[in-house]
Symmetry: C2
Subunit: 134 residues, 2 copies
């Protein structure tokens, strides 16, 4: 089980809910899931995990760097496995579709802007809200 090592490395006890949630995030083709999404998916898979636990575990995973939490528009947070490298997101305002992208030029420019003002860049969050061209 690769998952168990991930958990142990993160200093988290290997429990059934944590393993199941990690597997869920790893196996779903929908890369961005809300706590509710994860909960429902587990229920459908016959796994009996409480919603509160899903929230608690996802928060722990975030603290451990296993997942990234995004606050896109629309009230609820979504979580994404932190396996691939850094990237930003485009969200279609019509379909809700999420597209990942990485643009070296923007990344570079961000660092410059911050540096010009005597700061260092700790993190950033960029979301482009888009619509299919008619």
């Amino acid at each position: 089980m690769v998952e168990n090592n991930e958990l142990r490395k993160a200093g988290l006890k290997v429990t059934l809910p944590r393993v199941k949630i990690l597997q869920m995030l790893d196996s779903t083709e929908q890369r961005h899931m809300s706590a509710e999404d994860v909960y429902k998916a587990l229920m459908e898979a016959g796994e009996d995990v409480g919603l509160a636990t899903v929230y608690r575990v996802l928060t722990q995973f975030e603290a451990a760097g296993l997942v990234v939490r995004h606050n896109f528009d629309g009230g609820h947070a979504v979580f994404e496995l932190a396996d691939s490298g850094h990237h930003d997101h485009m969200v279609c305002v019509d379909s809700g579709e999420v597209i990942e992208f990485f643009d070296p030029e923007i990344e570079k420019r961000q660092k410059e802007i911050v540096k010009e003002r005597g700061y260092e860049l700790v993190d950033h969050n960029l979301v482009l809200y888009i619509r299919k061209k008619k």
Copy 2:
């Protein structure tokens, strides 16, 4: 009253709560206020406006383009007067200080990235999390 014209131009009836809320946003030095912030500030100023009305009015103001709603991290939305032009934000993770900036190069690149994929840019949200250089 400049505010009254703003409201009329936006097609909104000039009512006391709307005027007070607009003035509040205009006069506060804190550029980004949550609905709760606005509500409390009005109460302290002796203005008797319901919290529900603050939410309703801010939502109308957003639809009218008078304010911009931001979903920064942390559960609650903040609103900002749309008087100055568009800009993005840098937030200092140590002090919480918010710095506004505008970078033509990033703006331009965003449009290009989206266009390359057959979409049009509706809106975007960029926040740089920064720290003072040691």
